[in-house]
């Protein structure tokens, strides 16, 4: 019995040494700023952090189709309809690139969809706000896609290869999203007084939720430090939020709208803008499910999934039938 225990201990010992060597190789790859690829050894925490982050990101793209998608049938011109349709289709595409990246880590796509519609995985809080006017479509492009660009450009250098590559594709397309939004708003600002008021109203609604997109302040973001050590995340939440403010202020001036923050002003000493504090309790409420549209968004996604079940079933049946027929033909050819 003692002997058996010794063998087991030696086996465990060898495995520990092997894991140690793998960990060292992983750390060196990260330190050299090289990419981790799907079949490389990686710490369990690195894998699960990435799966969670990529899945949330993918879900955000998919749920993000809804707030603007509601305006496709009501777009004011064929031009705007075509643009909006292309944009919403891009969001679907971004979701799929990201699900594809999550799958390289061993996640199952259908399982991720289930986790979303059962409320077990989250998506960005921003998509739980309503879009009551067409100006909201423009402001989403300008603010929300602008904030997404701030977040996503550094992710193009993320240490996990498939995620970084997906982000490169997404960032290229995101630029169109932001520009079409800003152009839409410029057009409305050249219109009637009512249209200008509509734009200002949408700016007032979306400004603070957009700042919240970057997540809680650095002091309250416990996972950030580890993600930055792993080079999944390259900049802190507060730094990215600051970049977004600095980028957006001159755009707002050019557009002729007021950002709804009395504390917003240029700080010559820092060379950056000072700005007020978002209502973090609101972010907590929206994240935990109590935003204006949380239930509606998930209900819509669930319905789409269920209503599409017969299509998936039919496509599977068709593929099986075609494969069987081809098998028959090959058998006949062999026999002949």
């Amino acid at each position: 019995m003692v002997h058996t225990g010794g063998v087991a201990e030696r086996t465990v010992g060898r495995e520990l040494v092997a894991v140690h060597a793998q960990q060292q190789q992983f750390d060196e790859t990260i330190a050299r700023d090289q990419r981790i690829e799907p079949r490389d050894w990686m710490p369990d925490g690195y894998r699960s952090t990435l799966v969670r982050q990529i899945a949330q990101h993918a879900h955000s793209e998919i749920i993000g189709m809804q707030p603007e998608g509601e305006w496709i049938t009501r777009a004011p011109s064929l031009r705007r309809k075509a643009i909006l349709y292309a944009k919403v289709q891009d969001e679907a595409g971004h979701g799929l690139y990201l699900y594809s990246a999550a799958e390289t880590l061993g996640a199952d796509r259908a399982d991720l969809t289930l986790r979303l519609i059962e409320g077990r995985q989250k998506y960005s809080s921003i998509f739980n706000y309503p879009t009551p006017t067409f100006a909201d479509v423009g402001v989403i492009g300008w603010f929300v896609d602008g904030a997404a660009i701030c977040n996503q450009v550094p992710l193009c250098r993320c240490s996990y290869g498939p995620y970084a590559r997906a982000m490169v594709r997404i960032c290229k397309e995101e630029s169109f999203h932001q520009r079409q939004g800003y152009e839409l708003l410029l057009t409305m600002m050249r219109g009637t007084e009512a249209q200008r008021r509509m734009v200002q109203g949408a700016v007032d609604r979306w400004w603070w939720p957009s700042l919240m997109m970057f997540g809680p302040p650095d002091g309250d973001s416990p996972n950030s430090v580890r993600s930055m050590a792993w080079k999944i995340k390259r900049h802190s939440n507060d730094e990215l939020r600051q970049r977004f403010v600095d980028m957006t202020v001159p755009q707002a001036q050019r557009l002729g709208v007021t950002l709804p923050d009395p504390e917003l002003r240029w700080n010559g000493e820092r060379g950056r803008h000072d700005f007020g504090t978002p209502d973090w309790s609101e972010l907590q409420r929206v994240i935990s499910g109590d935003g204006p549209c949380n239930e509606e968004r998930i209900a819509r996604r669930r319905a789409a999934h269920q209503e599409g079940a017969w299509v998936r079933e039919a496509a599977t049946a068709y593929a099986a039938k075609q494969a069987a027929r081809q098998g028959e033909r090959q058998k006949q050819e062999v026999a002949a």
Binding site: Q25, G93, R109, E313, A315, Y318, A320
Partner: protein, 102 residues
């Protein structure tokens, strides 16, 4: 709320890897993956997903299960045979500076 049919459909849709030729004269390059019921559906979905902005003139789709890969490690002995053959590189050979065009 998952139906039986849904579970079956999910299990039955294989994963495909997608390769796109950006333009004539270039190789097909791996761009990502997608699920589809069969090859034809994989091709049309790949077109819609990976070439919305003229990114390709040709697409290959391959069932992921049909791909065979070497192990990923950089110290993989699989690649050892080419590691010690410096004489396969032009810089291995010393040629005097006054010899032109070589």
């Amino acid at each position: 709320m998952t139906t039986n049919a849904d579970t079956e459909a999910r299990d039955a849709w294989p994963l495909f890897e997608v390769f796109v030729r950006g333009k004539r004269g270039l190789n097909h390059v791996h761009v990502g993956s997608l699920h589809a019921a069969d090859e034809r559906m994989a091709l049309t979905n790949a077109r819609d997903l990976y070439t919305r902005r003229n990114e390709g003139v040709s697409i290959w789709v391959v069932r992921s299960s049909h791909i065979h890969a070497s192990t990923p490690s950089e110290k993989d002995p699989f690649f050892a045979p080419s590691g010690d053959k410096v004489y396969r590189h032009p810089t291995f050979y010393e040629i005097p500076d006054d010899v032109p065009h070589i």
